[in-house]
Structures are given as C-alpha cells and as structure tokens.
C-alpha cells in the first residue's frame, strides 16, 4: 500500500485525466483520420507526457536553478527553444520557405491583397477577446487578446512565436487551437464560402494557365521581400527573414544540399521537438479554466472571419477585374497551406468541373503566410 504513493496515481488530478483523454483523441485523429498527423501526433504525445505526474520531464532549467541533471528534456526545449529565444518557430519558417513555391503569387501579384484581407479575422478576435476582458468574463488584456487573435492567421509557427513572446501561459492552447482549426479547414470554410457567394460566382472559370515566372523573378522575390518587409515592419524579421532565406535556398538552385536539408531533415526534426513542446504546454489545470473554452471559441471566430474577409475582397476584385475572377480563391488567404487552397479547388471544381483553381488559390494562400507574419510583427512592435 505504501508503494501506491510512489506512483503517479496519487498525484493524478481530474484535469490531468481529461488532458490524457484529449491527448489520446489527438493521437487517434492523427493516425486514424489523418488530420494534420505531423502536428497532432506529437502534440498528443506531448499532452500525455505533460499530464503523467511526477516525471520531471517538464522541469525547466530556470525552475531548478540550473542544477545539472535536474531539468527535463521537454522543459529544456521549452525554455530555450520557445520561451527565452523562440528558436523553434523561426527554424520552422526556414523549412517552410524552402518548401514554398511562390510562382502563382509572382505571376499575379494582386493576390497579395487577398492574403491581407484574410487577416481581418485576427483583428475581430483581438477586439472580441478585449470585449470579454472589458466585461470581466475573462482576464484578457491586450497581450492575451493579441495571442488569441493571431490564431486567425491560421499559421501555427506564427501563433507560437507571438504567444511565446507576449503570453507564454497561453502558448499551448493557442497553438493547439491554430493547428486544430487548420486541420478542420475543409469543414469550417465551405459553409462560409457558400454563404457569401452565389452559385454563378462560384462557377466563374479562371484560365488554368498562369504566366510563366522566370528563374530570376523567383530569385529576386525573397530578396525583395526581405528588404521591403523588414524595413517596413522590423519586428517581422525573425519570421519573414527565415521564411525568405529558406525560399532563396530553394530558388537559387546552387545550394541543393542546403535546400533539401531545410525542406526535409531540418523541418522534420524541429517539427518533432516543437510539437512535443506544444503538447507539453497543456497541463491539466488548463481544462479547469473557462479561458480555455473562450480561447477555442474566439479562435474559431477568427478563422471564420478570416475566410469571410478573403472571400469578400475576392468579390470586390471580381467586380473590378477585367479578366474572370472567382471569389472563392479569396478564402485561401488564410495561411493554412495548402489545405485552404485545396478547399477552394474542391468547391470550384464541384460547381464547374472545368475549373482548376488550385494554382490560382495558392497565390493568396502563400501571401497569407507573409500577411500573418507581418501582422504578428506589427502586434509585437506595439505591445512588447
């Protein structure tokens, strides 16, 4: 009987038990349903490790006074990779840049505006969170509201980066919300797109052939982005700089080993560590807080409003464009790459089997990544 007190059972709380179940659900969703498996599988395991008591795996070096051998693996990654230096999200962006093809966006630069319009969801959730704080429903100030709002950017690394800088306590829940809603893009977006567009609009045929983009344009694009964006929004440098550096590695064509490493081994290793840390940032106490449900709700509102913002600007562009312009592609401005573009493609093809919108939708999709990094930099500049 005395041995019972040496096991984790004695310290297991109801909150831990609920989070263990949620972690198992995430693992099931990843493996069985194949919902964002690269993210949800390690997040689920991280949740299990965080909520099994007495392991010490989450002890951060600062918590144990730097005593050698006392800090845990995940605690060390969380402290140095996220809280102190936010290394992990920046390295993820490097890898993402090396995997991204900006061709459709370079071929049709006005699609940048759709990526900008879709960031309206961030603003709506930011103000919504502040309203909840104003009425005393939740303890949300400006920093918390920004961390919740950025979920609407539909960009996991950006969410993690901003939240770890402004409100580390919310990092786990905001990141899980962002990745969960990214996985549910195919469920969240279609009703909103259908509500805001007519059948005739959804059937608009766009020429599948995009202008050919030269190698020199592809090489100059990341350089122009780095110079312009960082001069205009200096605090966006960590994300935009790494993103464009990765892209330059890819497009230069002279550093194939580096490009392949960034797009494969580097991003895979960092994804494993980062997602484990995110899952491990979800302790049982979170379940007991109403703020958790409010964050999830506001995140969903942000996502929906971002989709709506992109579609509505798409409609405006349809009216002023000389060439046929299908407003559905505006929904791809939320930076859930490439899922949001695939949703636009699927809906467009369902309405008009001749339509192949994927390459058109990739334009606003990747523009949204830049847009969410810019707004994160702007919020960081104002609030930190």
């Amino acid at each position: 009987m005395g041995d019972f007190w040496l096991t984790g059972f004695s310290e297991l709380s109801w909150g831990n038990a609920v989070m263990l179940v949620i972690g198992l659900v995430f693992i099931w969703l990843a493996i069985k349903k194949k919902w964002e498996p690269y993210e949800l599988l390690p997040i689920g395991v991280g949740m299990l490790l965080a909520n099994l008591p007495g392991t010490g795996i989450l002890l951060q070096p600062q918590q144990v006074g730097g005593e050698i051998g006392s800090a845990g693996l995940l605690g060390t990654f969380i402290e140095y990779g996220l809280l102190r230096y936010t290394i992990l999200p920046q390295l993820i962006f490097l890898g993402l840049g090396a995997m991204t093809d900006f061709g459709p966006l370079i071929a049709n630069p006005k699609l940048f505006l759709l990526g900008a319009a879709a960031q309206i969801g961030i603003v709506v959730a930011f103000l919504g969170a502040l309203a909840l704080g104003h009425f005393g429903i939740a303890d949300f100030g400006m920093n918390e509201a920004a961390a919740i709002g950025i979920i609407g950017g539909a960009d996991g690394p950006t969410t993690i980066y901003l939240t770890s800088k402004l409100t580390p306590d919310l990092m786990g829940i905001t990141a899980v919300a962002a990745y969960s809603y990214m996985a549910m893009v195919a469920i969240i977006q279609p009703p909103i797109i259908r509500m805001l567009t007519s059948k005739k609009e959804r059937q608009i045929y766009m020429q599948s052939q995009l202008r050919e983009v030269s190698r020199r344009e592809r090489i100059l694009f990341p350089i122009v982005c780095i110079l312009l964006v960082i001069l205009l929004v200096p605090k966006s440098a960590p994300l935009v700089g790494m993103f464009m550096f990765g892209n330059l590695l890819r497009e230069s064509g002279v550093v194939e080993r580096l490009s392949k490493s960034a797009a494969n081994s580097l991003i895979n290793i960092v994804t494993i560590i980062l997602m484990l840390c995110i899952g491990a940032s979800m302790p049982g106490e979170l379940v007991m807080r109403t703020e958790t449900l409010l964050v999830l709700g506001l995140g969903l509102v942000a996502f929906a409003c971002g989709t709506a913002g992109g579609v509505l600007l798409g409609k405006v562009m349809k009216w002023i464009s000389k060439e046929p312009f299908n407003p559905i592609i505006g929904a791809a401005g939320v930076s859930a790459v490439p899922m949001a573009a695939r949703v636009a493609q699927h809906i467009g093809q369902k309405e008009n089997p001749r339509n192949f919108l994927l390459m058109h939708a990739m334009g606003p999709n990747v523009a949204g990544v830049i847009g969410s990094a810019v707004i994160a930099g702007a919020l960081l500049g104002y609030l930190s």
């Binding site: 006005k110 400006m142 030269s214 100059l220 929004v233």
Partner: protein
C-alpha cells in the same frame, strides 16, 4: 459583472493600424513584385529582339556566300 479597464482607444489604434499596415505592406510588395517582373520581361524581350536582328543581318551575308 465587474468590468476591467481596457483602453479602447489604444485597442482600436492597435487593431486598425495593424490591419492597415498589413494591407499597405502587401500592396507595396505586390507593386514591387509586379515592377521587377515587368523590368525582367522587358530585358528578356529586348535581348531576344537583338538576337532576331542579328540573325536577319547575317542572312544577306550567307546568301552572298
């Protein structure tokens, strides 16, 4: 229900300026990308026109041979 002191003027300023900044930055980027593409396409088409003219100039010489 207790209300908290939120500085709404600042909140609107942050959100408005943040969103406006995104639009401005991406619009500038769009213009820059379009200009770079235009210049490069003109350079490429200028280069191919020069090659065409050189070929036409060589033809009479070849005919004489």
């Amino acid at each position: 229900m207790e209300t908290a002191a939120i500085n709404w003027a600042e909140a609107w300023q942050v959100s408005g300026m943040g969103f406006g900044l995104v639009f401005i930055v991406l619009a500038i980027l769009a213009i820059a990308v379009w200009l770079v593409g235009l210049v490069l396409r003109r350079m490429d088409s200028g280069g191919s026109e020069t090659t065409e003219e050189n070929k036409k100039e060589e033809s009479p010489l070849e005919a004489a041979d």
